[in-house]
Every structure is written in C-alpha cells, then in structure tokens.
Symmetry: C2
Subunit: 597 residues, 2 copies
C-alpha cells in the first residue's frame, strides 16, 4: 500500500496536510491502478470494458512508502453499513491533502469514499439497460483529453475558452453561519451573517488564501459528472447518511431530480421491449408525465399510510399477466418516493422499507428512490416533541434509506437540493452502482453536460468550504424545525375548520404535503355523480372561494381506471401561517357546501 | 388597441415609465387575448389546440384608452427584416414600463417582440415531429397554477419553498463596465470595474432601488422556458441580429446548445420512421454522438471553404435512394454550424446561406442552425483590418443568419453563451416557430426544467441590467479583437513552422478552429498505409513531442466510409501565444518526420 503526494515525499510524510490529491485535467483515461491518497483501502472498481467509466481520478506525484505508524486511524475491518462520522471524514480529508482538480478534471467519486473492504460488489444488472443506453460510446473529444496528463503538453485540442475572457472576476455571497453559531435560527433572523467570496484564480499557488475551487475552473467547461470539489461533498454526505452496503457505489451530480429521472428512464426503459414502471397508486404527476411520452406506461401499487404495501407489490409481480396489462411484460422498475411521498405524504417506516427492498430483490427490480423530502422528516404528532440537539443525534434520527440496505446495487437514489437549499440551483446527485452511473454519464455528456458551474461553485463555497458537513446538517435541523411548525399550523387549521365527519387524514411524517381523504360515500350526490365530478365541484368551489388545492385524481398512476376515492393534497410549504389557516377555513366551507353539511 | 398599467390609468398616461408589464405567476392558462403593453401590434399566435403553449404572458391592470399622440414612434409599416435598433428597443421598454414577472411566472416571448405586421406566419411543419414530441401533454401541476392569477387566492397547491428559507441573502459580482467605459480592453486589464449586487427581495415595492428580478424569484422553481427577465433580453438581442422575417417566431432559454440539440433531435427524429440527419461531411463529434444512440444515422454533405455546397445538398436530396442509404428515408433535418464550423472553421458567406436555405425549403428540411461561434467573426486576412468602431457598425458587419432569411419558420437556431461569456453558465437559447418552441418546452418541463436560476439571475444582472444591449455588443467587439489576435498568432506560426509543400489551409473567418489539410498523396507510405494509419502516426508523434491536436477523422459524419483526406484541427482559443507558437513548431517537426522532409 502506497500513497502519493504532489510535493516531495519527505515533506509529505512530515506534514500530512501538505499532501495533494490531484485529479487529472479532462481525463478518463489512465490505465494506472486507482490509488487512494488517504490510504483508505479504496478499491479500484473496474467494470467490463463496455461499461468502463471514462473518468478516473488519479493521484500524482511519487508514491512515498511511509511507515505504517503514520497511517490514519481508519478501521481496517469491514464497516458493514456502520455509520461513518464527520470526524472520520475530516480525518480522511486531512490525510488526503489538498484536492487539485483543474478545469474539466475527470473524477471517479470512489476516491472520496471510505473503506469498502468486505462489502460485496454490485450485481450485474446491465440486462436492464435500454438499447439506447447500451450502445452509447464515450465522447471522442473527452477521451482525447486524457493526453493532457502528459507533462508539458500544449493543447491545440479542445475549444475551451481562456478564463481571462470570463468577465466576472469574483462572486460574493451573504450567508448565515451555521457552522460556528450555536443559534438554529432561520436565515433571515440569523444573528451571524457572513460574506464569502469566490475569486477567479483562488486555486493558484500564488493566491493569498489558496482554495480548492475557483471561477476559472467552475465557469469553464466541465465533465458531465460535475466538479470533483462538489462530488466529494455529496459522496461524503451519502456516506454519512446511507453508507451503502456494497462496494462499487458511485455518485455523480445531476441537473436536478426531474432531469435525472428522465435520464434514468431512458437508460432503463424501452417501449419496444414492452417495458413499464410500477409506482405508488397515487404518484408524482410530473414523473408520470415523464414516462408516458416515452411509451412507458405506469402501473399503480396499492398504498396505506406507510406508502407501498410490500405484499401487494409481491402479488402484482408474482401474478403479472401481460394480457391484463396492456401487453406489457413483467415490470423491472419501481419508482418510489419513500419519505413524504408526493402527493400522499406517506412515509415508509424502517421495516416497510426492508420489505419493499426484499420484494424488489426477489423479482429483480431496479428501484428508483426519489427523495427530495428525505430531510424534512417530522415528529409523529403535533404535540411538543424532543428533537435532536446535535448533528449526530440528527443523523441517528433519520429513517434508513433504501440505499442503506442495498446489498445488490439495485437502488438508484436521486437526491436534490431543491427542497433544502434552493430549487433554482437545478442541481442534485445520483447514487448508484458504478455500472449505472457510468451509463448515465454517457448520456449526460450529450444531454446537459452536468449542472451549471455557477450553481456548483456557489454550493461548494457554501456547503463545503463555509458550512462543512456539520454546518449543513445543522441547517437541515433548522429546516426540520421550521417545517414541523408549518405542518402543525396546517393540521391545527384542519382540526378546527374541516368537517371531520367526511374528511380524514393521517398526520404527515415527512415532506411538504398533507393528504386529505373525503368520504365520497357520504356525499349527497354519491348515486348520481362520479368521484371526478364531485372532486371538480369542490375544486372549483375552492377556487371561487380563494384557495388553490391539488386534486387527488391528478396523481393517479393509471389514469385509464376509474378513481376509487376522493382526495385532495394541501401543501404547508408555501403560504404564511395566517394564510394557511384562512385557506383551510375556505376549504372547509367548500366541503361543507358540497356535502350539504 | 389598448394598453394597460398596473397603477391607475391616469398616472400611467402621464408617467409612461411607471407602467408595468405584468406576467402572471405560473400561468399558461389565460384565455384572454394577448395584449401587448408596448402597443406594438404584437399578434397573439394561437396554434392548434394540441400545440397550444402552456405559458402565456398577460398584461394586467385597467386598460387605459390613451390618445394616439402618446404612442411610441414604432413604425406601423411591415419591418420586413429591416434591422431593429437598440434605440427602438429602449423606447419600447420605456413605454412598456416595469416588467413584473414573479416566481415561476409564465412568459410568451412574443410580448417582447416588435411589430410583426406584414410578416407571414410560419408554415405548419408539425408533420416533422417525432411520436414522442407529438403526444406530449402539458404538466398538470403547471396547468393548475393558472388559478394563481385569481385575485386574493391562497395557494395550498404547488410545493414551492418559501424564499425565507433560501440561505443566501445576496450575491455580488465584480465585472468590467462595458456600457460606460470607452475602453475596449479585456476584463482583466479593464480600467473600470464595478461591484453589482443582487438581493433577495429587490423586486419588492419597498426595495430602496427597486429591480425587476431578484433571488427570491430566480432561486425558486421556474418555468422551463426560463425567466421572463432573461427571455426579454435574448428576444430583443435576436431582433437586433436576425429579426426573423416571419411573424410567430419565439425564443426560450435552454441548458446550453448541447442539451438543446438532444432535445431538438428527440423532438424531430424517430428511428422507427427511418429518420436520419444531413450535416457537413466533417461535423461536430458530440453532435454525431448525440444522434447515434437514438438510432439516427448522420450523412455527410460535401463542403468547400464556405462549408456546405448547396448544389451537392440538392443533388443528395434529389437522388436519395433508401436502398443505398442504409434503408433511411429522404432526410428531413439539416444540422449545420454556419460560422466557424466545427471542425473545419468554414464560414458560409451571405449568398451561400441563402442558397442552402432555398435548397432546404425546396426539399422541406428543418434546419438546425447551431451558432456558438457566430460572434467570433474574424477579418479575411491577417493583415491589419478596419474593424467596427461602434455597435451599429458591428451589427452591420455580421453575416446574415439563416434565421434572418427564414420566411418559412423552418430554422431552429441554437445560441449559446458558452463561447462569449462562460461555458459554465450552461445557458443558451432557442429561436424557432411557436409550434416548435412549444413542443420543445413540453419536453424541457420534464427533462431539465430550464437553466439554473443562479445562471439566469447572474446573466440578467450582467447583460441586461448592467451592460444592456449596447454594453454586451461592445463586449462582443472586445472578444472579436482578442480572437483575431489569437488566430493571427496561430497563422503566423503555421506560416513559419509548417512544411507548406504538404500542409495547406484557408485563413479561418470565424470561431476557434484552424483546419489543416495534409496532402497524403505526397506521404512516402501513401501506397502501403491508410490515411487513418498516417493520421494516427502523426497524432502520436505530436503527443510524444508535447502537443495535443484533434484528428480530422474524429469528425467524419459517416464513420463507416473510408476517409478521403488527411486533416487536423488546431484551436487558437486555449493556449497562450507563446505556447501556441511552440505547439505549431512541434507539429511541424512531427509532420516533417512523418513525411520524411
């Protein structure tokens, strides 16, 4: 086992913080074994030649055979899904040294992971790939860039503009300090605001306060997987939260989960193969609208207050008959939102998750775990509840992700910053097996080329350089507190203003949406009007009374079947507490009028 | 003809600058006729019900019947592709008043256009749509948002986070002042730098220096077409440069031209219909790699130093025989880069463009006009040349775009900020007929949801609010000057260091690439080695000598045919002048060695 440093090995051995993890410029290319700067026994996960990742991170500089005693205290035993701590990550970074990832540097997220010893490799699920995904070839021009690693080479190759022509010399942000301040106040009343500045050449050795990322890198062309600087953060964050129990998981940035879902569906689904998708019987309308134009129908799985019912999922798959299912073969994809599901707000409990995973494993399904609301987990009741007081407890309090139980590598998890930072970042990340990530990236290269450099450098500056993992988790605790209050306000209003003889609900445990069930059997026009007609009547009445609410029928996975229940979705994310209460009052009037109560 | 103002009509009539163009929040919905705030006789282009745009801009406030004498001096006669001036645009804006486009406001770019009277409508080319594009439905949730226009309505509808949870209260940029400073220096030596700041609530009436766009809007969810604020700028810019000669052209933002191309191909091409694409015989490698996984082959059209040869294009189309063309039906798409084509650098002259357009019209082709290098138009020789001294002359000096001669609405033009501002913006725009833009957006809604809000608000702040059209055009003049110098440096080095007995070139007239032709007939191994073998030998020799250059064969539209010539592509965009000269010197040595000169 060797490790490498950019500076002379002697200096590196004495001053570990001067070590340098160098990612090659626009690579994808190295045949050298993947050596981990942190000596964390990082494996090099070489997949089949067809699926080889273009991008590969390397560590340059002479490998220095350091005595064992100097090595970091990272456990050599299999971690087996044990939680990784922030302290371990900080120590790993310290040992790895400065990250050097210049313009358009390739990056294998694996170099930022901890020890994978003892974890099994992902199963080969490449038989699920679509024709389009299977035949993709790496970009020729990006492949050629591997030669830029050659010392002293001058490039007349790629058409990358010089940063001297970028007409922005610095970007400054004003942000709350969640790392150092003990106050968990929301941003606009936070007592400790700070200005942080990103310069054009902050990574130059001559920079006064040298950084790892700057505008000259972030605003130029980049690899589709996103910058190494931000990939490091999301990879570590994924370890903190999920620490997937198989070895060759990877991450890459996305342009947000909406785009990531479309790319994933194109990667896995072929209309000509009679593919289809299973999902909650009420499912995110935009997800359904993403699948349908591709010729991919969606089929609903019955749900209860914990979402998908595993026995029903198993039954559907075990008894699948194409002739009863519009000619579609047995599905190989489950799309699910486990926490604060959209629209029902249902949140799968720990046992439920394990059961769903096991059914999917039994039937060889790929699971798309779409988790925009994961961090908005809320107390089970509106009564005052003990909440985590530190980030360790906060992490412990989070429900296990499907990814955290994914021994097969069949979960494709989509994370998003839209609900927890700003939707306008159009930036999220994917975690999946190396095989899937690699195919996904071959598409991203010709589709969106990864997220905006402005978004990347601003999020890196805020999350990584300013807040760090500790500060970011504190920020998530702030959000949790805020959304708990918002939910409680809505529920109090429901309790006071909705006619409980016809409207019922479960206290939502995560996310942004409260699902309301109206007993249509009690509607006076039950015999003469359809559910859709009653729903429309109430919806229109709400509009005329000044409240917009989402109709349950919009979210039905199978729009061709008649609805069996009457539902509405209400968000507590958008309105002020006063307006929310007023809106529920108006809804109550509309329901009473329709039901003639 | 009426116009509207948000304030009392009396005040509006007296103080035109207080008028307010209001775009509805998350609309797409209004059935009201499209009224133009600037009284510019803007038509409302209603397409068929299937193709109706979701987004529609409206003007609210009481219509005030103002006396004719107060109306702006915008000519009532057909403009017929006459150049629009910056003065006219500024006057139009002044009359329209403040743009009010709140969070996720819908926007029909048509409201920002000048008079279209007398221009014909686009031809209906919807028979070219792919199956996927034809069946797309608007997003249900975005449609529902039309109700937000209802006065006093409270939304429990969409899950948009409150901006109070955006943990960034302001963003500041340091930028050169190209509007006021007479100096056309590049950014890093510019004498007038200024700090500009974007606040979270700059659009509030209570804001000290009230603006039209802020972080609370830009960083929340938005419509896929992009913000009205930036659409206005690119629409006006398109008028300044192209002023398309048909009535119902529209613009929308894209996540850059790479992504826009993929979306466009999916919109227009079906493998099952035996579709294919025509392009330059040497074409942008990434474009080819975008088409192929979709099952869409590319066929090359012969080129000369002005790019595509119209007679050859006509011949190919007139004599198309599927059995000789891998079973493909006669193509209906031309993909072309008219200015500084990648890789050949060829630039179509004005007459050439018209001829190409006419052939495409004759054979009913849709033209994808991909123009990242359009503004990098360079003098015809390296001799000192008179360059435009003001923005009017600069605009006059630009080659006519295919869009500017598009009477049919068959051009889909892709513009990009990558080469003229920063590639990392991942932001560009599309100009095409309303029908195509609308279908494109139905895809964007479920694919990427439009560009990053950080990119949008930063570019708006810089381009629109700080520089304006005048400052932006001056900036483009700076770039033109800089790239002229870079090109001349490369050409001087070629002249001095390449063996002209075997290497020849045309002085490139636009873009970033110089195309070099090597006469392989003069190669000593001509009889025993293939062109590809000689090309590889020289390429590898270059690498070993320390220069990376692009191989011509990478760009061949038809990779299955044997190459007929030996070419290399050299960029003058990336290296310093000294390095560029050194690199060409090394290339010269490699060529001499291979040719044994």
């Amino acid at each position: 086992m060797r490790r490498a440093a950019r500076l002379g090995s002697g200096a590196a051995a004495v001053v570990p913080r001067s070590r340098t993890l160098v990612l090659t410029s626009r690579p994808g290319f190295s045949n050298s074994p993947n050596r981990n700067a942190a000596r964390s026994n990082q494996r090099s996960f070489q997949s089949g030649s067809k699926l080889d990742s273009v991008a590969e991170a390397t560590v340059i500089g002479g490998p220095s055979p350091l005595p064992e005693v100097e090595l970091p205290e990272i456990p050599e035993t299999p971690t087996k899904n044990k939680r990784v701590t922030i302290g371990e990550i900080l120590e790993r970074r310290r040992k790895a040294g400065r990250l050097v990832a210049p313009t358009a540097a390739g990056c294998d997220s694996g170099v930022f992971k901890g020890d994978s010893t003892g974890k099994p490799p992902a199963k080969d699920l490449s038989h699920h790939l679509s024709f389009e995904a299977a035949i993709r070839e790496p970009c020729k021009l990006k492949q050629a860039a591997r030669h830029l690693k050659t010392p002293g080479i001058i490039s007349l190759g790629g058409g990358l503009p010089c940063p001297e022509y970028f007409p922005i010399s610095s970007i400054s942000l004003n942000v709350p300090d969640y790392l150092h301040s003990p106050t968990l106040s929301p941003p606009e009343v936070h007592p400790a605001l700070q200005d942080i500045t990103i310069g054009k050449y902050d990574t130059l050795p001559s920079a006064p306060d040298r950084k790892e990322y700057d505008l000259s890198i972030a605003l130029n062309y980049a690899q589709a997987h996103g910058s190494a600087q931000l990939i490091r953060f999301v990879t570590e964050h994924t370890e903190l939260v999920s620490n997937p129990p198989y070895a060759d998981w990877k991450t890459c940035l996305t342009v947000g989960s909406t785009g990531a879902l479309e790319q994933t569906l194109r990667m896995l689904c072929d209309a000509s193969r009679n593919d289809s998708i299973l999902t909650e019987e009420f499912s995110f309308a935009t997800a359904l609208e993403t699948a349908h134009p591709l010729g991919i129908p969606t089929f609903g799985v019955p749900i209860d207050d914990q979402g998908l019912i595993p026995s029903q999922l198993d039954h559907i798959l075990s008894t699948w008959n194409p002739s009863e299912r519009r000619g579609r073969r047995k599905p190989h994809i489950l799309y699910t939102v486990p926490s604060g599901q959209n629209p029902t707000g249902a949140t799968q409990g720990p046992e439920r998750r394990k059961q769903i995973y096991d059914v999917c494993s039994k039937h060889d399904l790929v699971i798309i775990e779409d988790e925009p609301y994961y961090y908005l987990q809320l107390p089970p009741t509106t009564a005052p509840a003990a909440t985590p007081t530190n980030t360790t407890d906060f992490l412990e309090s989070l429900l296990p992700t499907l990814l955290s139980m994914d021994t097969d590598g069949r979960v494709i998890r989509m994370d998003s910053f839209s609900k927890v930072l700003v939707p306008g970042s159009r930036l999220g990340w994917l975690t999946a097996s190396d095989r899937f990530i690699e195919r996904f990236l071959r598409h991203a290269e010709v589709a969106n080329q990864g997220p905006s450099g402005f978004s990347q450098v601003i999020l890196h500056k805020l999350l990584d350089e300013t807040w760090g993992h500790e500060g970011y988790l504190k920020w998530l605790m702030v959000l949790q507190k805020e959304y708990t209050e918002r939910r409680n306000t809505l529920l109090k209003a429901c309790d006071e203003h909705l006619p409980k003889e016809v409207v019922s609900w479960e206290v939502v445990r995560a996310g942004m949406f409260q699902w309301l069930h109206l007993n249509h059997h009690l509607h006076p026009d039950f015999q003469t009007k359809s559910i859709l007609e009653i729903e429309e009547e109430i919806f229109n009445s709400c509009i005329s009374k000044g409240v917009l609410i989402a109709r349950g029928s919009w979210f039905r996975a199978e729009q061709d079947l008649p609805p069996t229940g009457l539902y509405f979705r209400a968000t507590y994310a958008a309105a002020t507490p006063e307006n929310m209460t007023e809106a529920i009052k108006r809804l109550g009037v509309a329901v009473r009028e329709s039901f003639r109560l």
